[in-house]
Structure formats: C-alpha cells, structure tokens
C-alpha cells in the first residue's frame, strides 16, 4: 500500500464505510433494551470521569470536622464521609480511577490472551503443548494471590491491580478462546490459504484471531466488570489503590466499617459498582452480537 502523496485521498473514502459500520453497530446495540442500559451507563461513566478531571461539586481535600457522616443536603448531594468530605465528589473522581484500571487491565489481558492463544494453536507441537499446560497450571493461581505477591515489592498501587487482573484474566481469556482458535486453525479456509502459500503468521492475523473475536469481546467485557470488583476487593485488603487516591473501592473501604451506623454512605459506592458491573456484563453480549457480521445481518448489508 504505497500511500505517498495521495494518502489523504485514499483515506477519505475508506473512512466512510467505517463510520457507516460504527453507526450500524451503535444502532444494533441501541435496539435492545439491555444494550441501551449498558450504553447509557458506560457513556455516563466515561462522561463523569472526564468531567471529574476539571470539575467536582466540592474539592476532594476540603474537610469539615463539624459535618461528618451527614445525610444528603443541598451542599452535599450524597452527604459527607468520616472526614466531612463530599461523597459525590469522591465518587466522581473515583470513576476515572476505575475507568483507567478497567481499560488497562482489559488491554493487558487482551494482549496476553491473544499471545497465549496464538501459542496454543501453534503448528509446533512443543509450543502448543507447553503453552496449553502452562495456561492450565497458571490459571489455578487466584488473582488475589498474584496481587498480594506483587504488592510486596510494589506496595499498594493501581499497577498492582492492573497487572494482577491483566495476568489472571489474560490466562482465562486464552483458555476460553482456544477451542475457537483451534476450530479456525483446522478449517478449510486456513488450509486453503496455506495451500496457496500464505505464511502461518498471516493466517493467524487474518483468519484465526478475527474468528476468536466474538469470544474475546464477551470475555473482555466480563473481565472489565470483574476488574471493577477486584479494585474494590484489593483496595479493601490494602494492596489496591493507595489511600488518598479516589476510587469506588476507596469510598467503600472507608465507609464499610460504619455500615450499621451510616448505611447510606456505603450504599452509593456499592450501588455504582453494582450498576457498572451489570452494565459491563450485559455489554459484552450485546456488543458481540452487534459487531459480528455472522450474527448481525444489518452489518452484512453495509457496502
């Protein structure tokens, strides 16, 4: 593809079908009730994360010793926590930390999962055999344990959550994607491409990996939800987000001890985590059906 000077001219018509495809995908998601729910929740999550970078109702660091554990008021819509800080502001700021963790964990899991899947369908019996055994062995290590081990040298940090979740979910992804990858690797279209002289790598990139995408989409979306849950759990254990950094897990961890006395303060972060996790779980299913030309006839009609 020699796009020297005419690069822009070539790119313009190529973008139009892509935009049309995106429109069809969005419409297909929107057409389903659960898709609409997921899309609205995720869009809100993204919007609040971005807004929190420039504006929150109150400063995160303004404390008020006279008004701790308050219920909702005009000044503090969701009340205040044990230091008198605004709960809503902390939850808004927490949205961006959780979004960052979910995105990075999914990216790492995706890269690791695809690399392992590729190794497991390798034509070298040694590589495929060793990687399959390795995945089965490593998958038995709980994500929490990986995080606890990582926290020894690294301390409590966002990186611990991202790496632990990325490794754990990446292994899971590889094991779940393997059957589909094998099916594609042994298919007639791969045989035909190889018989025409295609390299294994190009077959992997063009045929095998794209055909694992439906599974990957669902699994990665579930993983994003699990990463949000893991953030809460690991932060509560003290190996997740360090104190002072806003996150939903942080808001939960600081208020959960007083759940008997001030249940409302726990309710908000708990509710947000639940709604977001449900939205992510649903989103994967809907997204797979929408982006897969095999499952979505509307997508096949885009010229």
């Amino acid at each position: 593809m020699a796009a020297d000077n005419g690069g822009k001219k070539v790119a313009a018509p190529a973008l139009a079908p892509l935009a049309r495809k995106a429109a069809v995908v969005l419409r297909s998601i929107w057409a389903r009730g659960e898709g609409r729910f997921a899309l609205v929740v995720l869009a809100l999550w993204l919007a609040v994360s971005l807004i929190s970078l420039v504006w929150t109702p109150q400063s995160l660091w303004s404390t008020d010793g006279y008004h701790v554990w308050q219920g909702p008021t005009a000044a503090h819509w969701l009340g205040t926590d044990g230091t008198g800080s605004d709960v809503l502001s902390w939850l808004m700021a927490g949205a961006r930390t959780n979004l960052l963790i979910a995105v990075l964990a999914v990216a790492l899991a995706g890269v690791l999962g695809m690399a392992l899947t590729a190794a497991m369908v390798s034509r070298s019996a040694t590589v495929s055999g060793v990687s399959a055994v390795l995945v089965d062995a490593l998958i038995s290590i709980p994500t929490v344990l990986i995080a606890l081990i990582l926290a020894v040298p690294m301390g409590a940090s966002v990186a611990v959550i991202v790496i632990a979740c990325g490794i754990g979910y990446g292994l899971n992804l590889a094991r779940i994607a393997r059957p589909q990858a094998l099916l594609a690797a042994n298919s007639g279209y791969v045989d035909s491409a190889l018989a025409n002289g295609a390299s294994w790598f190009s077959v992997l990139v063009r045929h095998i990996m794209p055909n694992t995408m439906p599974t990957m989409t669902v699994q990665l979306s579930l993983s994003a939800g699990t990463a949000v849950l893991a953030e809460s759990g690991l932060t509560y254990l003290g190996v997740g987000v360090p104190s002072g950094v806003p996150s939903w897990g942080h808001s939960l961890a600081t208020s959960v001890k007083f759940i008997d006395v001030y249940p409302l303060t726990v309710l908000w972060p708990g509710l947000i985590v639940t709604v977001v996790v449900v939205a992510l779980n649903v989103f994967g299913d809907v997204l797979r059906d929408a982006v897969d030309p095999v499952a979505n006839p509307a997508l096949r009609e885009v010229a």
Binding site: S187, G188, Y189, A195, P293, V294
Partner: protein
Amino acid sequence: MTETHELLAGRGIGRVFGRGKARQAALRDVDIDVRPGECLAIIGGSGSGKSTLARILLGLDRPDSGTVTYRGEPVDGPRSQGYRLLRRESGLVFQDPFASLDPRWRVERSVGEPLRIQHHGIAGDELRDKVADALDLVGLDAGEFMGRYPADLSGGQAQRVAIARAVVAGPSLIVADEPMSAIDVAARLRILEAFATIRKARPETAIVMISHDLGVVQHIAERIVVLHDGSVVETGPCDEVLGHPKSDYARQLVAAASL
C-alpha cells in the same frame, strides 16, 4: 514413461497412521499420474485413503514412503522446488463449503485471497476484475455476490465461491475433495456445470476430482483411478472403467453410481 510428460506424479506412495496395534496403512504403494489439462477422478469409499492421497500429492502431508514430483521437481517439504511451484499453481476445493470460507470475510475478499498472497502488489480494479472473472466462470453474478458474506449463501453457492477461489489465480492444477457430497442434488448440477465451464475456458488446467460416487464424476472425468483399502485396484479411461470394470470393487461402484 517420460517423467516430464506428467504434471504431477506419485510413485510408490505409502502412508501409515497410528502406532502399535492401532497401526493402519492408509495408502499402500500407490502410483498415480496427473497429466496437464486432464480431469482425473480418484474414486473410493470412506477410509480408502483418497483424501490422504490428495494431501500428499499437494505436499500438504508427507508420505512415509515413495516420492511425489510436480513438473519433474521433487515435492518434499516446504523448501523443495516442487512444493513452491505447487503453492503458486494449485487450488483446493473442500467437501464442506461453509467450513472452507471464512465466515467473517466477504465473497470478494475470500475469492481474491490467493491473488493477494501470490501477487503482493495487486489491488483495486485489477484484483476486482479477476475476482469477477472467476465468479463468472462458476456461474455467479459478480455484482450480486461479491459483497455477500457466507451466511447469505446457499450451500451450492458457497461451494461455487470456493471453486472460484481455487481458479482465480489461474492454477495448473485444481484438487477438489468431495466437492459435491455436502451439496443437495439440484445444486450438484450447477457445480458440475461450473467445472465443465472451467474445463472449456481453461483447457490447460488439470482437475483432480475426489469422490466416493462414480456417478457424479462420470460426465466430467477423462480418467479414473479406483482406490480400495489404500491400494489402486483399477485405473483407466472413464468409459473403460465404467463399461468394463475389471475388479469386483469397481463393479460394485458402477452398480451404486448415482445421477
């Protein structure tokens, strides 16, 4: 017998699967020739070794004994000259058309794949024209079918798309492994027609058709090789094998032929 006259030649091919008690000979000392531009049918029941033979002839599987040569060059592993020539000059058609087309690829992309693999620079109108020609050859309207996905094709249409992919790069050899056994009877005729058109339009292209059914190949094959339990039991011109089968097995096949 001049070696150079044959396009593809197998000599004394043997292949064994399994070990110990499960050891089973799939092919025993098979000699086979494919001449340029001819249509050769390899006939045999399930487990007769015909698919294994096809893969070995194409260099996609290695025989335990014997040799394969293509245009007089040895086909012996990916580095051999014969293997390289075969990759450029052969096309494959499989039994199950849907498993042989990537469900995520449009017809245009699937049919054009061999061209893109072999001629790296090819793109745009040149590629489109060749894909359209290939679809035309198998009796599919290019304008209607190029943009379709396999999910929107019938079995017969999908198989003809797979045949178009096998001919698009102008191969010297097409190997079709049971191309009609997964297709309903009405659509089989269309596929036979497609092969007949290819025979007429590309007389230099040899076709090896593998089938368990003499009936479907009798109208198109010039020569027939009958395989039984991994051995060649009969070989000769189509009329001769059909009219005067010498072996018991071939007689049974003639009696059981459909169409």
